[in-house]
């Protein structure tokens, strides 16, 4: 049996032309490539930090 109020939640009002500007501005444009770039960037930082730590340890040993 269909519950009208519950079913009504499946519907959303359509966007009107007056809202077009907001629709474009507020659109989240983050994609998988952005995420991959973020991962790469964070990985590079970690590598750099680890390299720095390793170099420091080597110098201490000397």
């Amino acid at each position: 049996m269909i519950d009208f109020d519950e079913e009504l939640k499946n519907f959303k009002p359509s966007m009107e032309t007056s809202e077009a500007e907001d629709a474009i501005r507020d659109k989240d444009l983050t994609d998988m490539i952005d995420i991959l770039k973020e991962i790469t960037a964070s990985q590079s930082t970690v590598i750099r930090q680890s390299a720095a730590v390793a170099a420091a340890a080597k110098q201490n040993r000397k």
Binding site: I2, S14, E16, T17, L36
Partner: protein, 472 residues
Amino acid sequence: MEKCFNCGNPIGEDERTCRFCGANQRAYRMIMASSEKAYNDGLAKARDHDISGAIESLNRSVRFNKRNTKARDLLGLVYLRYGEPVLALREWVIAKNFDPDDELANRYLDSASSNPGAFEKIDTAAKKFNTAYKYARAKAFDLAALELKNVVRENPDMVKARQLLALIYMQEGEYSKAYSELKAAKEDDENNPLTVRYLKEVRSHLVSGKKKKKKKTDRRSTVSINDGHDVVMMPRQSFIEALDNSKSGLFNILIGIAIGILAFVFLVSPTMKQRENEETRKALITANSTTASSKSDAADLKKQITSLQNKLDKYEGKSDVKGSYENLIKAQQQATGDKADLDAARKTLKEANKKLLGTSGKDLYKSLTAQIDQQTLTTKYDEGKNAFRQRDYDKAIDALKTVVKIDDTYDNGEAVYELAQSYEYKGDTKNALKYYQKVAKDYAQFYRGRSSARKVQQLQQAQQNQQAQTNG
């Protein structure tokens, strides 16, 4: 030569990571391939009228790679078809932003701006859908259904409008209407999960409704006979079925004839009689109305005759146009000169018809009348006075009456006073009183008025005395 997506340095085709920045090139290639795959998937679904599936795939494609402008262009088109013009515009604008040379996006945007009528129609439908949605939330189902019908008429491809309309129909228990809307929605968007679910629900209701009907029919078609031992079930037959099943054709024919005769006697014959009566009544009414109109015509003609007679009476004894002018000239001649005859001039002037004269003719008529009156006043007044002095009261009365008739204030009321005196001396107390009273009233402040008042008193006293003597 490929370039690293992160730092832009050149990399080999089989390199898994960038030598310069360490970016994972394999993951990048997988993301790009997934985006392309989702685009192809979306394209196939759009071709198969699976709009909601296409939207899902294309959105996935641009989530992998936001710069996939092919996917964005197609997503815009699919949104437009789905009745979401603003979302369509959004996708095209973003696509153009990423790739200013994107021909498709440019073309769609140009088309939206150069053909605003079509785009506005879709936008109006979207606005109406929003209104209907509000009505539906407020449980104003009639208004919502009305609005949604308009939406569907303006944009038949707007699937969600059909779905909401179907939902309202289901809520109202109108499952067949809901079914037709959902069927139309399914044609536009083949695998829409909401449409599929609603269709399933509607079908189940329609099937259960049919089963109930069938049960009722079955119950009606059997009859049970209890003969004391066994219950015999046999099919129920209607009267017509019984007739059809009876083998006696002659019986049927006889019944048919009897029904025909009865129908003629009770239905056709009274109608025919009624029609005849109606025609007679109409003829009578027409005859009566004709007589009445003849009578009224005769009355109108009589009125016209009376009116014309009245007009004719006015002209009797008067001259025509030509005669009126001749009389006018004649009266002028009679009133002027050494041998002026004012009475004759007055008579001649009376014979002229003033109404037939032109403006200048009327002016001459007026001036001539005034001139004759003035001359008459002078002549008759002198004549009256002389006659009074010579005690010829009849002549005096005749002359002075003419004066008073023309101007009853002539010579400051002296003419009226002398007329009253003439009557008094003649012995006509009644007329004398009449004119004395007039002078007494009109000239009460003057000598003639006061003396007239005294005369009135004297004459009235004399009359009373005379009456008393007669009575005594």
